[in-house]
């Protein structure tokens, strides 16, 4: 681990330059470009708020905040992994010619997802204030699911980007997958209306678990159990470990495909 951070500091300059490049590519040097990218979760939120409030949120307290928490985390997951998927194929012209650690491309892509997420997070708290949610010092604990979801995103990004090198139609499958995942993540409905055994099945979904953590803290004002903390860490660490393993074992093979 120490060796990893040492190597990371050695590549700091490269990392910064890559982040700058990705930023300029993505936002085409405009401030408006950045605003656009937080518009996506906000518009989804608006539509869900209009459509589902009467249907599902009638007796619920803080339904807007409930919806927003789901959209916030889900969009972070989606943006980070969809962006990460193309990080190897998009930079193939570099790493097939110059020796460079490949995970840097993924990390630099993730920086813009993190920044978009942070902007959306600020808007989330503004909305929560309007919704009348009582603010509390415990809110700081949502840094924990942000950390574990980031780990999960990076791991998934590694897995997807490697798969994308081998199979180019993965992106269409992944489109379908993320859509199904959205419906399974209880973004606009409540899981406590299902029988207990079905509720437990939701815990198999890492994205749902991270959303749930934020809701427990912000809406209920509680801290989740220690076991729940462990579950989130497990998901994040497992994705990271699997991603790193794939990069390590398949790295030499990438060159044959690019």
């Amino acid at each position: 681990m120490r060796k990893f951070f040492h190597r990371l500091s050695k590549h700091r300059f490269l990392f910064e330059e890559l982040v700058k490049r990705d930023f300029k590519q993505k936002y085409k040097r405009t401030v408006f470009g950045m605003l656009w990218s937080i518009l996506n979760p906000l518009l989804t939120l608006l539509v869900m708020r209009l459509v589902f409030t009467r249907l599902l949120g009638r007796n619920a307290e803080f339904y807007t905040t409930y919806l927003f928490a789901g959209n916030l985390m889900y969009h972070y997951f989606k943006e980070s992994t969809v962006g990460g998927m193309s990080c190897l194929t998009g930079n193939a012209h570099i790493f097939t010619k110059i020796r460079v650690p490949k995970y840097l491309f993924l990390l630099s892509k993730n920086v813009s997802a993190v920044i978009n997420f942070s902007l959306t997070l600020v808007v989330f708290f503004v909305f929560a204030a309007f919704d009348g949610v009582p603010f509390h010092w415990r809110f700081f604990s949502i840094l924990y699911p942000i950390l574990t979801l980031t780990m999960f995103n990076i791991g998934m990004g590694m897995i997807l980007s490697a798969l994308y090198v081998f199979f180019r139609d993965i992106q269409y499958f992944y489109d379908i997958f993320t859509m199904l995942l959205m419906y399974l993540s209880a973004i606009f409905y409540y899981v406590d209306r299902y029988p207990p055994e079905v509720q437990r099945l939701f815990l198999l979904n890492p994205v749902f678990c991270n959303i749930k953590y934020v809701r427990v803290v912000v809406i209920d004002g509680n801290l989740p159990s220690l076991a729940f903390h462990g579950l989130l860490l497990l998901y994040g660490a497992a994705a990271l470990a699997l991603g790193a393993l794939i990069y390590k074992t398949q790295e030499q093979k990438f060159l044959y495909y690019l």
Binding site: F13, R21, Q25, H93, I94, F95, K97, I98, V100
Partner: protein
Amino acid sequence: METAIRAEHVSIRYLTGDFKDIGLKEYVMRRLTHQYQVREFWADRDISFTLMKGDMLGIIGTNGAGKSTLLKAVSGIMTPTEGRITVKGSIAALLELSSGFDADLTVKENTYLRGALLGYTRAFMDEKYDEIIDFADLREFQDRRFKQLSSGMKSRLAFSIACLVNPDILILDEVLSVGDGAFRKKSGEKMQEILQNGVTGLLVSHSIQQVRELCGKVLWLDHGRQMAFGEDVQGICDRYEAFLKAR
């Protein structure tokens, strides 16, 4: 004299076949119908050579001889399937000139990005930037987008960055034929100067003339096999030219 690069019985295997650019659906179909084929292909077979610090090696051979693959192994992009390569020192590899440049970034931004890719620090690039941009003769273009440059200008920049950052080992794949006459003369002189300062170089070139002039050792590859290696540059080049005529 200190050894800079030692390649011992290096063999590199490539996989080819029609597995590239097929999707998961097609992969499954081909697996089921037993039409999935992967062929092995040895790009390099049992290559051995040793370079001392300050040596300039010319690598010659026809297309598909395994020259670029060998350079990829030396620069650490690929690991040899068999054998091993020991390298002492930092490498600046110019495997293809425009590689690693981004069309939408400016010349200045690209210079820093390339410097970073080659493993240098920001402070070092700050110090070297003026020298690089002046050598490439691109000062008035430094804030232009890279895609607005001509291909000659792009090559000039790539060459300048690789040469002016003082690598221990410099790998040049078909790059000395870049730019117009004036720049070619300047880059030739620069190469001589760098070699006198003890840089170890590997040069791939289709110009036998260039290899005869610049190199002190030569490696001749043909279809992945090592035909000759040694300090007898003129002799090996003569044999290679005779071989080309006889084909």
